[in-house]
């Protein structure tokens, strides 16, 4: 603390910037391409940052003109956040010198390499035995990123010398699936998918057979289609795309799978304790157990950005290798995934580019399907979405082997984005049993043009492509709200409302096409929108790419089923909301967190999932929510840099107060570690670091309440106190007394994912693939499953004889 004080006292004070803009051009782009944030007074190159500019203003980003290239459209109304870098990616499109401009110039999904600084994947399993995790390589800047999945089974009794960490049995499965239908068995993803691509519903924006006609040589008419999806042409490259997906000798940064974006591996067992009390659920679980048993009793699902949801067994043979059961590509990814191959083929790339079509976390949850019936739903989304830009003119040259681009004019200035949400039915987890439950894609082509691509039982299980224009009528009102969907954030929430007949909901937190945060309330069985709610906050897309906002639900007092009375979401601008969907009330902002240091305010972005519990205070249950925030202050040293803190909110006490939301400055008391400090009577915070400032601890597990304590695993680099090097650390903090216990292990760096096994051992993974264990019983915490509540049982309260 004293150290910080002297630093602040003697170092000349600097006027800290408010915000920055960084614009990146996708490859290829002309060397003369420049962008400006101030109407052309200053021109900057791709990847160059603007100077610090006030965040209170809005800006228009414009682009210069370059001969034979189409400049991107200006981006108006760019809003900055305090101490935030707002990132924008745009595409210059090369054109020929001709004058004929065919209509319906197709748009292509574009590669993206943004967001390489993702936070670690966020999940903590409790009372489970299998911990899966992902190791990634996100360094390639012009080709696909890679990842590998590993897992450990903590209840298996390994023999000495036996491999503990399970690896993927290579090569991966050849059993990849796709579907253009819903509620039907999926089809094999192989060379025959070319027949699907000729479907006019597949092509962006519309397939035109004789899109361009010219004479070559003079007197000989040549017709060119706008997209090369004829069976004859598709057959030339389709196997290459399928091989890419199946990882057969295809380089993905040297790894077996594409990267996972923000998607975590999800280990799934037949049971769900939160659903056990509901009618018919236990019988349903009994049926699932026999289906899961051949795979080792559990299945690990993993979404990868190339569009595949992978299903892996958990090594039933215990030979150190797990296998891939199947991979399924939902229609929302299938529509765009093929362009990974199209870019490679037509632009003559050595490696496949990264076109993320499945970047958000997945959720696996059971929902009631009619009386006493249950379905297991795997829901996911495209995440940040896929940018769209006009098809590169040289693509036609490559496809036709003619100099077509020389006769093409400048295409209409199309740009847009595509986003999607989907659900698979994995009630029967076998490859023959998995079905596409529904899929909705929003293809926004700008200027009010676009269409939705839908498969759902609500549309007769068939594939429906409907334009925005048609949506403005009465057609498909239950889907029309998807037109606003731009970006999906975080993992959705599934639960129910209604006291008699339950209505199931899937709540998705997203960003709409007006850049505002929006809640999408979705029927998890059909994909139909029950409703959507736009919030007042504008999203900083650049921030959301790295640190997406979080949404989650906690069980209400006196309840143990997923009744959606308490949904909480934390937006990356520091806004913290509660929402009682069960009562149908509007979301309520209860807290606004800001980080204050040296008189300047900065955002407090959330990292990792949050958690909630109850404590009994004055004989009343008080709802406590905890989350971890990231605070970035410009500069290095002098109080600058990135620091992290855990925040615990007594929501009950907070809501007793008036004038919500309460604006809270956090960090003003920071300077000592390993202790909770009171920010107010309802909010406490704890600075995460080893010893002192400069040794910040980065959270790698989702914080969780356990036995009255808040537990967090973190990692960092220590440079003081006689030690230089990485460290891993756990915090066992008591939010009531403020006491914090810690345990630090030097020489290890932790990655995302954590588990508490049935003996109370807290497991985290190191960057070198080792398991670090902390025994929670040494903190006087009982193992899970050891107490009264572990088993279903009945007891006699009284017995009497009436006569």
């Amino acid at each position: 603390m004293l150290f910080l004080f002297f630093i602040f006292l003697f170092v000349p004070q600097k006027t800290w910037a408010d915000g920055w803009i960084v614009v990146t051009f996708t490859e290829p782009y002309p060397s003369a391409a420049r962008w400006s944030y101030n109407g052309g007074s200053t021109w900057l190159e791709s990847g160059q940052s603007s100077p610090a500019i006030p965040h209170s203003s809005t800006y228009t980003v414009s682009f210069n003109s370059v001969s034979n290239w189409i400049s991107p459209s200006s981006v108006p109304n760019v809003k900055l956040k305090n101490n935030q870098v707002t990132r924008i990616e745009r595409t210059y499109v090369r054109v020929g010198g001709g004058s004929e401009v065919p209509e319906e110039w197709p748009v292509w999904p574009q590669p993206s390499y943004l967001g390489s600084q993702y936070v670690p994947l966020t999940f903590t399993l409790i009372n489970r035995n299998i911990l899966p995790w992902v190791e990634s390589n996100k360094t390639p800047s012009t080709s696909v990123w890679g990842s590998i999945l590993k897992m450990v089974d903590f209840i298996y009794d390994y023999a000495e010398g036996e491999e503990t960490i399970k690896q993927l049995l290579y090569p991966a499965t050849q059993n990849y699936l796709f579907s253009t239908q819903s509620n039907a068995s999926m089809s094999t993803l192989d060379s025959t998918v070319g027949t699907v691509m000729t479907d006019s519903r597949f092509i962006l924006p519309e397939y035109v057979e004789n899109w361009l006609s010219f004479e070559d040589p003079p007197g000989t008419l040549v017709n060119v289609e706008n997209q090369q999806f004829s069976n004859a042409i598709v057959s030339l490259w389709i196997n290459s795309w399928v091989d890419f997906l199946k990882s057969k000798n295809i380089n993905k940064a040297g790894m077996s799978l594409s990267d996972t974006g923000h998607g975590s591996p999800v280990a799934t067992w037949p049971d769900n304790v939160w659903l056990s009390p509901l009618p018919g659920y236990l019988s349903y679980v009994n049926g699932l157990e026999s289906l899961y048993e051949p795979y080792g009793g559990a299945i690990v699902f993993l979404p990868t950005t190339d569009g595949i949801v992978h299903a892996f067994d958990v090594d039933p043979e215990n030979d150190g290798y797990y296998g891939e059961m199947w991979g399924a590509m939902p229609l929302s990814s299938f529509l765009f995934g093929v362009y990974q191959e199209m870019h490679k083929e037509t632009l003559d790339l050595a490696l496949h580019p990264r076109i993320p079509t499945l970047g958000a976390p997945i959720l696996i949850h059971d929902v009631e399907d009619g009386q006493g019936g249950w379905k297991r739903i795997l829901a996911g989304a495209t995440g940040i979405g896929t940018p769209l830009a006009p098809k590169a003119p040289e693509a036609w040259d490559s496809e036709t082997e003619l100099g077509v681009r020389d006769i093409l004019g400048i295409p209409q200035s199309l740009s847009g984005f595509a986003s999607g949400v989907f659900a698979l039915d994995i009630t029967d987890p076998r490859s023959s049993g998995v079905k596409q439950r529904w899929s909705v894609s929003n293809i926004d082509l700008g200027d009010g043009n676009g269409f939705l691509n839908i498969v759902s039982s609500a549309t007769g299980n068939s594939w429906t492509k409907i334009s925005y224009t048609a949506l403005e009528g009465v057609s498909l009102p239950s889907f029309s709200g998807y037109r606003t969907l731009h970006t999906s954030l975080s993992r959705p929430v599934i639960g129910y409302t209604g006291s008699g007949n339950r209505t199931w909901h899937m709540v998705l937190l997203g960003i709409d096409n007006e850049s505002y945060f929006r809640l999408y309330d979705i029927n998890p069985l059909t994909g139909e929108l029950i409703g959507s709610t736009q919030l007042n906050e504008v999203a900083a897309l650049g921030t959301e790419i790295d640190f997406p906002s979080k949404i989650g639900a906690v069980v209400p007092w006196g309840e143990n089923t997923p009744k959606l009375e308490e949904i909480y979401f934390y937006l990356s601008d520091g806004s913290f909301y509660s929402w009682d969907l069960y009562s149908g009330t509007a979301p309520r902002k209860i807290l606004e967190l800001e980080f204050k240091l040296q008189g300047e305010y900065y955002n407090a972005e959330v990292v990792q999932d949050f958690d909630g519990t109850f404590f009994i205070i004055d004989d009343q249950p008080h709802r406590f929510i905890s989350f971890v925030v990231r605070l970035e202050k410009a500069g290095v040293g002098q109080g600058g840099g990135i620091i992290y803190g855990a925040v615990v909110v007594d929501v009950t006490k907070l809501e007793l107060g008036e004038n919500l939301p309460q604006t809270m400055e956090i960090g003003t008391h920071w300077g000592q570690t390993n202790v909770f400090v009171d920010e107010s009577s309802a909010v406490q915070s704890m600075y995460l670091a080893e010893q002192m400032h400069g040794n910040e601890a980065f959270p790698v597990s989702a914080p969780f309440f356990y036995g009255g304590k808040l537990i967090i695993a973190a990692t960092g680099y220590q440079s003081t106190g006689g030690y230089n090097g990485v460290y891993g650390k756990i915090y066992v903090a008591d939010p009531i007394t403020g006491e914090v216990q810690t345990e630090t292990i030097h020489g290890v760096s932790l990655i995302g994912g954590a588990l508490v096994d049935d003996s109370g051992i807290f497991r985290v993974v190191t960057s070198t693939g080792e398991i670090l264990s902390f025994d929670l019983t040494e903190y006087e915490l009982e193992p899970p499953g050891s107490g009264f509540g572990g088993e279903e049982r009945s007891e006699i309260i009284y017995w009497k004889r009436n006569n």
Binding site: F123, T124, L125, I126, N127, R128, A267, T268, W269, D271, V273, W274, S276, P277, L278, P279, G280, Y281, S283, I364, H365, Q371, G372, G495, G552, V554, V555, W557, G558, E559, N560, D609, D611, T613, F614, F615, P621, F704, F705, Y706, G707, G708, E782, P783, P784, G785, S786, G787, G789, E792, R793, S794, E795, I796, I797, Y798, W799, K800, R801, N802
Partner: protein, 221 residues
């Protein structure tokens, strides 16, 4: 000491005569009375013993009804209608039923059934839900009920969350993760939903004798 020795001296016998017959008659009379009394007592005891055996059979039959109902209740625990019931003045309105099946009750097969190896004995078992309120239409308060209706009502006991020592969890409320995730299974120390049910079992013989047992069962799910 001399006084004591004097007191122990033998008293001289008097001479008695003419008392043998009356004494014999008296003994005969007393003996006849005793024998009659004994016969009466024995007969009465035999009759009482026969009556106790019948009561025991009825009691055992009623107890078997309790056990049968507990099995039925436990087996159906996942499929029960857990919604709060509304008592309308009839016992059927709080009778346990399966979720979504409004007209059928869980104890339908336990009404007036015969008992194996007990001729002319029938068994009736009611399984009643303690999680109820008055419907506000037919019944607003206990004052709207007669004494028999009140006696027939099970105790009111809404579903509650159990609390335990140590780490509350699984379905935990206090101090442990309540995050709605299938992989958050703290499951130690309370947290189960406790649901209360009254089981009433009545065994009745053809001659109008009966035995009735009542028990309150709590199921933690």
């Amino acid at each position: 000491m001399e006084d004591q020795e004097l007191n122990l001296r033998k008293v001289p016998h008097k001479r008695n005569s003419g008392m043998a017959l009356p004494m014999a008659l008296i003994f005969l009379l007393v003996g006849a009375v005793l024998v009659g009394t004994a016969l009466y007592v024995v007969e009465n005891m035999f009759s009482t013993s026969r009556h106790v055996v019948t009561e025991t059979q009825l009691y055992n039959a009623a107890q078997s009804g309790i056990e049968q109902a507990k099995v039925v209740l436990w087996d159906a625990r996942s499929d029960l209608d857990y919604e709060e019931r509304e008592y309308d003045g009839t016992i059927d309105s709080v009778r346990v039923r399966l979720d979504g099946v409004s007209g059928d009750y869980l104890d339908d097969d336990l009404q007036g059934v015969s008992v194996a190896e007990l001729v002319n004995v029938t068994l009736t078992v009611d399984i009643l839900d303690c999680n109820y309120v008055f419907d506000g239409i037919n019944v607003n308060d206990y004052e709207d009920l007669d004494i028999d209706q009140i006696a027939a009502l099970p105790p009111r006991w809404p579903a509650i969350i159990s609390e335990g020592e140590g780490t509350p969890g699984g379905l935990s409320q206090i101090g442990s993760s309540g995050y709605l995730d299938p992989n958050r299974q703290v499951t130690s120390g309370g947290g189960r939903v406790l649901r209360h049910y009254v089981i009433r079992s009545r065994a009745e013989s053809a001659d109008g004798k009966s035995s009735s047992i009542e028990t309150l069962v709590v199921i933690g799910l």
